[in-house]
Each structure stands twice: as structure tokens, then as C-alpha cells.
Subunit: 509 residues, 2 copies
């Protein structure tokens, strides 16, 4: 039986562009994993890793024009957004090179013997080592930043782990090209091409997470797909860490005082954030608690004007378009739900943005309206009108985990007077990033970033953006009584590599 062909498809027309590859057989997945494993020794040297990452950034930037063209043809995300995303991806690769140079992620701890302790302490020295081959599952909505050369790959390579990437079917042609660029970068540093494997196909993805030589996985995608792979990872004879980013509602709370003060600004900001990239961001605000009454009405009016004036857009693929149209319809027919700007099917290949409103009282207890507490991927948000703080609190306390949670405060509340602290205390337990007077779209690549949150936002407590994303692919090893000549240089007393460390209990930086 011939392997199924993998086609690149233009979402603007639904037409096949080119046959890119064939879906990987189990044997091909095995070969990719073994080739990745064989590349491990080449990544053992941190200077090689850092140089490889920097060259990868350079070569991706060099090929930028062509890559953006291919990405746009497959994703319809537009050249402006894609150029920015590629720049972000290159920045991310370079940031991880800097992290590799610094070496703080090695978490070096050195204790000397203490015979008087209970029990006695021997010579103990601990650092972190790479886990092994990492399976990376690409996202549909970030063809660069969360795909073949994205944050999972960058952080895994930085940690010393080769990767096998499962390409997303929405951008197989780009995936092949980016993988080629990464391999060209690897070759310049004598790292074998197998360091970045690439496989296509749903079945191949399942084979990958089950492969005995795969040591960990990173995933960005849907709750359904992510949970299935999480379950497969947990059911292995030897379970592996599965760092999945699955789904998020990204609630926003607007206080009464904020609505009074900035109804129009907030309405316009919300419209911009929820329609950005045709609503295809994992941090799109999907539920907004807006006070009932006149100020809230002004906010909703501004939102309606702004969203109503938005052009129809192309989603990443037609399956998503169907899912969005169906998801909107299912929500819109719930009792007490209104649609001031009806989202849904636009033209033959497009969708139009819109939003629904519902009294928040419908969301304070279990019922059919719980559907409104589930992510609907695309340019839709739900505005829940609350009558008092207790009602808003009741809704927040029922939400599943989120990547982000946001509050819009008045100037007085932001200065610490009023309900700001109380609302932050409501938002912190349900999110990994909490914002005041901002919008969650736009995820900065920075040391303090945390892109993760309680399930289903992520399947672990880790982040997929920011420097600490490297921690996912490492495990500690302690060496006891190992003589100096046999110690890794990272663990020597004289610190030849100049690493930050905890030495004799004290932090040295």
C-alpha cells in the first residue's frame, strides 16, 4: 500500500498547491528517531549548540523572503504578520543561544562532605543533563514560532536534545523548507542532519509519542488532539513528560469603574485583540465580563461598531472554518444569547468576526451555557454581562485553566484603591499570565514570560515561551564522590566554565 500523499493546500481557495511528501510510515518514524538519537553526542558541547542556534537564526533570516511567501500561500496569515513571526522566531533562537552561553539552566549545586550532618553528607555535585530525543508537535496558527524552528525546537536544541518534528498539515511545504534550513545550519557545525527530523501524518504523530527512544514531547494545538497524545504518553510502558498547550478561554474582567472611565477604549481594544490574526491566537480573549448598565452598554456598542467593520478573513484551513461556523451556531442558539454582530460564514472561503452576549447569571452554575466556557477557535468572543461583583466572581470561580486572565481597571483601582487586588486574587488561580489594562494577544519572548497555565491551558506546569522553556527537556543528575579528574567540568570546584551555581549552600552568580 502506497503511503498517503501530503499536499500543501491554499486556504484562500481550498485548492491543492503541490504534493510535498508522503505520510511517514512506522519505519520512517523509527528511522527519524534513531537518526535524532545518533545526533546527541554532537550536541553535547554547549558552544556547538549556541553556535548552531545562531547560525539557524541567520540562515532563516537569509531565506526569509522565500519562507514568508511559502508560509503565506499555505496559511493565508499575510506577509506582514508572517515577517514579524519569522523575526520573532529568529530572536527566539538567538535568545536560547544566550541562555546556553550563560549556563544557569544547568542548575549546578555543589556540596562538600559534612560528616557531622544527619545523615552525613558526602561530596555531592548536581547539574542537569538533556533528556534525549524530543518529539515536537507543530501548531497550525504559528507556522514559524510554534512549528519546526519554533520555541519547542529552539529550547530542546538549547538543552542538548535532538528533535523529531511532526509537521502540521496546514503548512507541510514550509515545514520541509524550514527543516532544510535547520539542517544546513547543523551541517556548518558538524552536527548530523538527523538532529532535526521531520515527519508528516496523523498516524506518524501517534507512533512518534509511543516510540521507546523518544524521551519527551512538546505540543501546541487543540484540547482533543493534545489530550489524545498526552494519554498516549502516559500509557507508555515508560511514560514520558508531555508538555502540551491545549486550549484557553483567556477571560477578561472589566470593572464598573473601568467601563465608566474607558468604555470606548476598552471596546476598541477588545475588538482589536479578538480579531487579530482572524481570532486564531491561543491567547485570544474568549470571554469578557462586562458590567450590565449604561457604561457596559457603551463598551458593547464600541465593540459592535469595531467588529462589525472588520473584513471577513481566511482561516488556516477549511476544517477549522467548518468548526468555527458550527461552534458559533451551537452557541448562538442557547437561551438568552444574543449576537449583536453575528459571526460565522463570510464568503466561500472566509469567516466574519462577531461576538455573542449573555447574562453572566447563565454562567454561574452548570448547564448548557457551559459551552460558552469552552474555547471556540476563530474570531468570536462572548461578552457576559454581570450585575454585581459577586456574580463576576462566581463565573471566574467556575472557569477551567487558562493561559492568560486580564482585568481592565480604572485609574483609581490601578492605584490600589478599590477591587483590583481582589480581582487579581480571583484571576491568579486560573491562569499562567495575569494582565492589568492590557490585552493578552502578543506573547513577548522574555525571561519573565510564562506561557502555560492550569489544565487545559497546559498539561504541565511548564512554559513554552521564554527562557525557562528549556527546563522541560532536562533532568538532574547528582554525582557522589566522583574524583576531580572524572568530574564533568561543570561540576569542578574551580568552575572553569564560569557557571552560576549554588556552592556550599550559597548562590554564586
Amino acid at each position: 500500500m502506497a503511503a498517503a500523499p501530503v499536499w500543501s493546500v491554499d486556504p484562500r481557495t481550498g485548492k491543492q498547491r503541490e504534493q510535498v511528501a508522503a505520510e511517514a510510515t512506522a519505519q520512517e518514524v523509527d528511522e527519524a528517531v534513531r537518526a535524532a538519537r545518533a545526533a546527541r553526542p554532537a550536541l553535547a558541547d554547549r558552544t556547538v549548540r549556541a553556535a548552531f542556534l545562531r547560525t539557524a537564526a541567520d540562515l532563516l533570516a537569509d531565506a526569509g523572503e522565500h519562507l514568508v511567501e511559502v508560509a503565506d500561500a499555505e496559511s493565508a496569515l499575510g506577509p506582514v504578520r508572517l515577517k514579524g513571526e519569522l523575526a520573532r522566531t529568529c530572536h527566539q533562537l538567538r535568545a536560547f543561544a544566550g541562555i546556553v552561553d550563560e549556563g544557569a539552566f544547568l542548575d549546578v549545586v555543589i556540596d562538600h562532605p559534612d560528616a557531622g550532618a544527619t545523615p552525613p553528607v558526602p561530596d555531592l555535585r548536581r547539574h542537569k543533563i538533556p533528556l534525549g530525543v524530543v518529539a515536537v508537535y507543530s501548531a497550525s496558527n504559528f507556522p514559524f514560532a510554534f512549528s519546526v524552528a519554533g520555541g519547542d525546537t529552539a529550547s530542546a536544541l538549547a538543552a542538548g536534545c535532538p528533535v523529531v518534528v511532526k509537521a502540521h498539515p496546514d503548512h507541510p511545504a514550509l515545514s520541509e523548507r524550514v527543516a532544510s534550513v535547520l539542517r544546513a545550519a547543523a551541517a556548518r557545525h558538524d552536527v548530523p542532519a538527523g538532529v532535526v527530523g521531520l515527519v508528516h501524518g496523523f498516524e506518524a504523530g501517534v507512533e512518534l509519542v509511543r516510540h521507546p527512544l523518544v524521551a519527551a514531547a512538546g505540543f501546541t494545538g487543540s484540547v482533543r488532539g493534545g489530550r489524545a497524545l498526552f494519554d498516549a504518553a502516559a500509557r507508555r510502558p515508560v511514560p514520558i513528560p508531555f508538555h502540551g498547550e491545549l486550549g484557553s478561554l483567556n477571560p477578561v474582567v472589566v470593572t464598573e469603574a473601568a467601563a465608566v472611565e474607558r468604555a470606548e477604549e476598552i471596546g476598541a481594544g477588545l475588538a482589536g485583540s479578538m480579531t487579530l490574526g482572524v481570532g486564531q491566537f491561543c491567547v485570544k480573549p474568549g470571554l469578557v465580563l462586562v458590567p450590565a448598565g449604561a457604561a457596559g452598554d457603551r463598551l458593547v456598542k464600541t465593540l459592535a461598531d469595531a467588529v462589525g467593520g472588520t473584513d471577513a478573513g481566511v482561516l488556516l484551513d477549511h476544517r477549522m472554518r467548518d468548526g468555527f461556523v458550527a461552534g458559533v451556531a451551537e452557541r448562538a442558539q442557547l437561551p438568552d444569547v444574543a449576537s449583536p454582530v453575528t459571526p460565522g460564514a463570510g464568503g466561500e472561503h472566509t469567516v466574519s468576526a462577531g461576538f455573542l452576549t449573555v447574562p453572566a447569571g447563565r454562567l454561574t452554575g452548570p448547564g448548557p451555557h457551559d459551552l460558552l466556557l469552552e474555547e471556540c477557535f476563530g474570531p468570536l468572543t462572548v461578552v457576559a454581562r454581570y450585575t454585581d461583583a459577586a456574580e463576576a466572581h462566581a463565573v471566574l470561580s467556575r472557569l477551567p485553566g487558562n493561559l492568560t486572565a486580564t482585568v481592565q481597571l480604572s485609574a483609581r483601582e490601578a492605584a490600589g484603591e478599590g477591587r483590583g487586588a481582589e480581582i487579581l486574587a480571583d484571576l491568579t488561580p486560573i491562569a499562567g499570565r495575569v494582565l492589568v489594562n492590557g490585552w493578552p494577544t502578543g506573547v513577548a519572548v522574555a525571561p519573565a514570560q510564562h506561557h502555560g497555565g492550569p489544565y487545559p491551558a497546559t498539561t504541565s506546569t511548564s512554559t513554552s515561551v521564554g527562557g525557562t522553556a528549556i527546563e522541560r527537556w532536562l533532568r538532574p543528575v547528582a554525582y557522589q564522590g566522583v574524583p576531580e579528574p572524572l568530574l564533568p567540568p561543570e561540576l569542578r570546584d574551580d568552575n572553569p566554565l564560569g557557571l552560576p551555581r549554588r556552592y556550599e549552600g550559597r548562590l554564586e552568580r
Copy 2:
């Protein structure tokens, strides 16, 4: 239906000592979890946590004589060992108080806005917060250090997480008494008694890991029990982190040169380590690769003399005794397996220590001898005689994950000449702690400690001993654009709490 009674049993006689409690019903588990959850606010203040941990250590030490007596009556581990274990437990509580004071575990990272970055960086500040209620599953073999007041509890409380402990059926009376001491310590700092819940019973343990308000679990025990709970944690609608320590073979490699140089010393050291505590340590050396030939023969002779002279001992319970006797018998009847000192049933309530030998060639490929690569809990070790380095390497490459792996080197090899580096490279991938010229029993409580390893040693990359054990019960949260008056003090620019942090990319200590 009346709840099943929980009896304290004397393993030296198999007789019931007293009825301690009843197995917890589902409703009682729910009450314990809710009471623990209600104690969270009382733990929010780090100074309260540190003081509580120190008082707990003081009160446990004060009650030491009585506690050791109860522990000995239930475990037969003997007062000397138990006194040491209690001291270790108190030291551990105090060490975590120090870790709470220092606050490095909060992992504070602060970034200021950078509009020129790609994408722009807003004001972002990240620290770690407690996960919530932690379920702790006590170990049979450490009634103090890995039980009610053990490392999981100490690290969870240090992180700000209340606990509900599932008592081990081998020491229910001690569990109740230790829980009372912890609650007395809590009361002195106005922390509600629910901060340390305690439940008995197998079914209660399963209920506990499934409870929607339980946020994470720590476990020390068997592969079978741990895997069942791990599976339950992973199958929840909202999966939770399950940090389990399940089983470990703890391989030891003796080089030819080391055997020539120190056959008697190594044989005696091995005998001491494998029979310590009647072989009931998770780090007991369970497989020892000894060279074939005269030097190895001397080692085995010394081992036989030392182990043969060991008194029969009482295991923690009669089920374990039956398991040990059956496990030994099953292994001893394998082809080519000899038993120079036959372990097994001693007296009516005791077992005798012993060891088996097998040609290492029997372990280089799959077959019935794979049973020898599984942990057998109790005073048994397997000596595999290897003919050359390639054979030893082949056995090591087939081993499952371990808590520890040890090599015995000659003086010349320890100085870096010979095969030392090569063997360390074989051992590092299969263990969490790698020792040279030591024995794995005796797990120091120290910052550099790592007590964990590839599955089945542990179900995660974390440790259950040492300061970094606290990381298991925390998750990061980033705050974006939060005005100073609303920021947690941990995240303020002026650092009022004097925390170590990464500020504007630089490490500050």
C-alpha cells in the same frame, strides 16, 4: 456497612497491637481535602511557613522517645535506626524552613518594557505560587523520613501547599501520632489543623488522587502501586502531576582493577549496604557486575562470608516477607543461577540475607533472566560475573531507570587513567545519582542531592530528597503591566523581601 478497622500490627509476631482508626470513606477523604484547602490562606505568608516547619521539628524531637517506641513496635526497624531517621526528618523540616526564608525557589524574574524587541516586551514579572492541596503517599520503609512528616510533606508545606497524607498500613499508629504533632505545631502559628490531613485505607488512597481539589501527588512505594496511582492521576478529567518513586535496581559495576586492588573491601562494603535495614532501602544495590576470575572470586568469597554471618531479620510486614521468599525462589531456579548464600525464610517471622550469582552473559539479551533486572525488596542482591568490558556494557545498556548507579574503581582509574570515564558515561543515562567508590545506601539531605531517576525509579524528573524537592509543588505565574500597588511584594523593583532574582536579564543574589 461499618468502615474497615485499621490495625497496628507487630511484624515481629504478626499480632495485632491496637485498632488505630477506620479506613476513610469517600466522604471522609473529601472532608480532609476540603479542610486542607481551607488551610491554604494560612500558609500564604512565608514567615508563617518557616516558623511552622521549625516548630514541627522541635515538637517531633520533643516527642522523640515515644515516637521511636511506637515506630519500632510497628516496623521492627530498631530504635537506633529510627532515632537517626527521626533526627534526619527534623533536620529536613528545618532545612526546608531555611529554603523558605531564602526564597530562591520563588524563581523571581523581572523584565521591564522594551518596545524595540520582536515582539515588544511589556512589563513582565514572574514568580512561583503553590499548586494547592498535595496528596502524600507514605512509604513502608521510612516511617518518619518518607511518611507523614517526611520529605514530601516538608517540601509541600514549604511551598505553601497543605497536604493530605495516605498513611502506610505498616505504621498507622505512628502516622496518627506524627500527624497530631504536626497539627500541634500548626496551632502554635494559627494554621488550621486541616493543613495536615491523614487518611487510612487503599480505597481512600485511590479516592484521594482522583479528588478534583487535589492538585498534585507525591508517592514512595512499589512499581505496581505507584503505577496504578500514576495512571489514575493521568486519567483524571484534569490530570495532575504525580511525583512517584517506584523502584530501582541500583546497579554497581566493579572494574577488574578495582577487584584486584580491593576485593575484600568491596565485598564487605557490598554486604553492609545490601543488608542494611534488612535490605529494605530503595537504594539497596540489587545487581552487582563483578569480573569473572580470581579477583572477582575473592570479592564473592568475602561477600559470602559477611552475608552468611548476618542475623536473620524482620521485614516490615508479613506480606513483604512472603513476597521476598517467593521472589528469591523464582529467581534462584533460573538456569545458571547459583546461591552461594541462600536468602529466604529465616524463622517464622524473619528472613535471612543472601545473594545469587549468574553469568552476565545471561543478561545481555531478553529472556527469563530479565527477572533478575527487577527489584526484589529485601536482603537479596544478584552478582553477575562478566568476562569483559563489552559484556558489562551490554548489561548496563539493558537496565531500566534507577535511583543510583555505582562504580568501584581502582586508585589509578579514579585518577582518570583507564575506563572510569567510559563507565560513568554508561551509568549517567540510567540513574539519577552516580557514585564512585561508595555505596548508594544513605541518602544525604543536602542541596545537591537528587533522589530520582529515569522510570521506574521516578515517574517525573523531580527529586524527593534535597532542597529542589520543593519545585514539585509550585507553578509559575507571570504578571503583565500590573501597577506597583497591586504587585505581590516578591515582584517589586525595590525587592523589599531581599529575594534572589533575575532582574533585567541579570542574576542577582
